[in-house]
């Protein structure tokens, strides 16, 4: 399940053990445990205030846990100060030193490690090449675009050959197009250098696109840690299900590990309610729509290119979003009666109150 295949020989294992952190009355981390395999890229995903940034800052040494440990390789770094942890970090805010050129920024960490200028220049050239910015090496932060600045910041973090790479929402200040580009670039670079990486984001698309595993956090806890596909198709809780991707909530009847909805009986996933009324969590692409049925009425159709989203209202009032290839809904009009059928074999059914 854990993808450690590509070039992941130099990475170290990183363990977060039962981390707890309170800020006044707010619990930011409530016993977070997480192990990153060597060379793995784990994304921590969650709404703001879920503790993901606190977790990253504790790994970086920029914040201290009330209890718990951070272990990198065989070394317990919990009490090691930030400047001795040997970690590369890229921040959400632009963090290049404004009085230095891109190259000087990248060389800064190497200078502090006492490398001579020839070696520094060679290494800076190498990592700037890696992020595709050799031509910009003499520019100051103020002369570069946001995307370029974050690339230099990435190069600067990698220049010191850190044991762990920490990315704190490095893309959220950028516009959508640059964000997608740089996202893939970060992944490419990370696979190339094989550094164990912790990536914090609130953007599920980002997390699902580049991480080996994604940890969904809520209220200081890890709700689920899994590969992106697993997280999407087999969410462990209603929170994960609704946070990752679009999710329909369809009332249903549960009995003996099976739920009945839309005229179909399916197996319930672990973590579902055991009996009685429940709400089945159904992905838009897990439902098929067909003209001429009698399950629901079409209330809205949005054309999104190769596929369309049809909103259909069930007889008892629940609205359902169905994602389907555009060709199949060409003849549908608002107000049409349609038939709906379930394509899933198993579903998560949560309690009605969730």
């Amino acid at each position: 399940m854990i993808a450690t295949s590509t070039g992941a020989r130099e990475g170290l294992e990183v363990r977060l053990e039962d981390l707890r952190r309170r800020f006044g009355t707010v619990t930011a981390l409530d016993g977070l445990s997480l192990t990153l395999a060597p060379g793995e890229l784990v994304a921590l995903l969650g709404p703001s205030g879920c503790g993901k940034t606190t977790a990253l800052r504790i790994v970086a040494g920029l914040d201290e846990p009330d209890s718990g440990r951070v272990v990198v390789g065989d070394r317990d770094v919990t009490d090691v100060s930030a400047n001795k942890r040997d970690m590369g970090m890229v921040f959400q805010a632009y963090s290049l030193f404004p009085h230095m050129t891109a190259q000087q920024n990248v060389e800064f960490g190497l200078k502090l490690r006492g490398h001579d200028s020839t070696r520094r220049r060679a290494r800076a050239g190498e990592v700037l090449d890696l992020v595709g910015l050799s031509s910009q090496k003499d520019k100051y932060a103020g002369q570069m675009s946001g995307g370029q600045q974050q690339r230099v910041a990435l190069a600067r973090a990698l220049a010191i050959e850190p044991s762990v790479l920490l990315l704190d929402e490095p893309l959220s200040a950028l516009d959508a197009k640059v964000r997608a580009q740089l996202r893939d670039e970060i992944r490419r670079v990370q696979l190339e250098v094989g550094t164990t990486t912790l990536f914090v984001t609130h953007d599920q698309e980002e997390a699902l696109a580049i991480a080996d595993r994604v940890g969904v956090m809520s209220q200081g806890r890890l709700e689920q840690l899994d590969a992106p596909e697993a997280l999407y198709s087999r969410p462990g809780s209603a929170f994960v299900a609704s946070f990752v991707g679009l999710m329909n909530r369809v009332p249903c009847e549960v009995q003996g590990g099976r739920a009945t909805l839309l005229g179909t009986s399916v197996t319930t996933l672990d973590g579902s309610v055991h009996g009685g009324r429940g709400v089945a969590l159904v992905r838009p692409e897990q439902v098929q729509v067909a003209a001429g049925g009698d399950d629901a009425t079409v209330v809205h159709i949005s054309f999104l290119g190769s596929f369309s989203r049809v909103t259909a209202r069930l007889v008892e009032g629940t609205e359902l979003i169905v994602q389907t290839p555009s060709a199949t809904v060409q003849d549908l009009r608002i107000g049409d009666r349609v038939g709906l059928s379930l394509l899933a074999d198993d579903l998560l059914v949560s309690a009605t109150t969730d």
């Binding site: 970086a60 040494g61 920029l62 100060s81 930030a82 400047n83 001795k84 942890r85 040997d86 970690m87 590369g88 970090m89 921040f91 805010a93 632009y94 963090s95 030193f97 404004p98 009085h99 800064f108 960490g109 502090l112 490690r113 100051y140 103020g142 910041a153 600067r156 973090a157 010191i160 920490l166």
Partner: protein, 278 residues
């Protein structure tokens, strides 16, 4: 529409010229008069004797050296005290920033004469430990320049993201000393320079504290000299005024050039404090 705008623009231009002229006269006429007085010979004619006197009068020369030394010491002590403290407050105890600001601005609200009453007692100990050199005035002067230096440095720190920059530097292996000297200071250079310049200007013009605490500095000697040799004393006053003016003009030029080269806000003393982002 366009004519109205042209007219408005012209009116503004005229207003500017008037204001600048009036203000210019306000400052230049007294300076001009001082200059004229300092070269006048009562019997008629002009002489530079009084200006030459500036370098020759041993008391005056000593006082000039003392005041320059005082300026330098004040600037150094002020920077050493203020920069790490203010950076520390921003990074670690932002809740304290109000209190620190209040403390730093306090000297502005206390008349020098009241300060002296408090300082007298303190200086009994200063003299006991450090002797009675006029250079011990440095401590009082650091307090005196705090409000101005604080404002200037605060504007400088507000124009950069101190927290992120220092966290980035620490992540790369920098200790606190390196963070302050190699990351923070180079980026608030203009602010430090303006804090330094204004401190120098203030120290060179300071009379009350020195006189009431019975120390000798430039202004005290000028004042004494005024009683025996008024023309030399006016020459000395003028020289120190012009020196301070030049410093302040340099300051505003430095602030402007910085502002132009980077997109950081100009570190102008007259500018309102910049609100910190985020």
């Amino acid at each position: 529409m366009t004519t109205a705008r042209v007219r408005a623009h012209r009116r503004l231009q005229a207003f500017r010229v008037v204001v600048l002229t009036v203000l210019g006269l306000f400052f230049l006429v007294p300076l001009g008069s001082m200059a004229a007085y300092s070269v006048r010979v009562p019997a008629g004619g002009r002489t530079l004797d009084f200006w030459r006197q500036l370098g020759q009068d041993p008391d005056l020369r000593g006082a000039i050296v003392t005041s320059l030394e005082l300026s330098l010491l004040t600037v150094v002590l002020m920077l050493v005290l203020l920069v790490p403290t203010m950076v520390w407050v921003r990074l670690r105890v932002p809740g304290m920033s109000r209190i620190v600001e209040f403390l730093c601005l306090l000297p502005l609200t206390i008349p020098a004469i009241v300060l002296v009453v408090g300082l007298k007692g303190v200086y009994a100990w200063v003299t006991y430990f450090l002797g009675d050199s006029s250079l011990t005035l440095t401590f009082a002067y650091v307090v005196l320049v705090l409000p101005y230096a604080y404002r200037s440095i605060d504007a400088g720190l507000a124009s950069i993201d101190v927290v992120t920059l220092s966290e980035a530097a620490r992540g790369l292996g920098a200790g606190w000393f390196t963070v302050i000297t190699r990351i923070i200071v180079p980026n608030i250079g203009a602010a430090l320079l303006s804090a330094a310049f204004i401190s120098v200007a203030l120290v060179l013009g300071e009379f009350t504290l020195a006189s009431l605490l019975s120390y000798t500095n430039l202004q005290v000697v000028i004042n004494l000299l005024g009683k025996s040799d008024s023309q030399t004393s006016v020459a000395a006053s003028l020289a120190s005024l012009v020196f301070a003016f030049v410093l302040l003009i340099l300051l505003s030029l430095v602030g402007r050039r910085r502002g132009a080269r980077r997109t950081a806000p100009a570190l102008d003393l007259m500018a309102p404090p910049v609100a910190k982002e985020g």
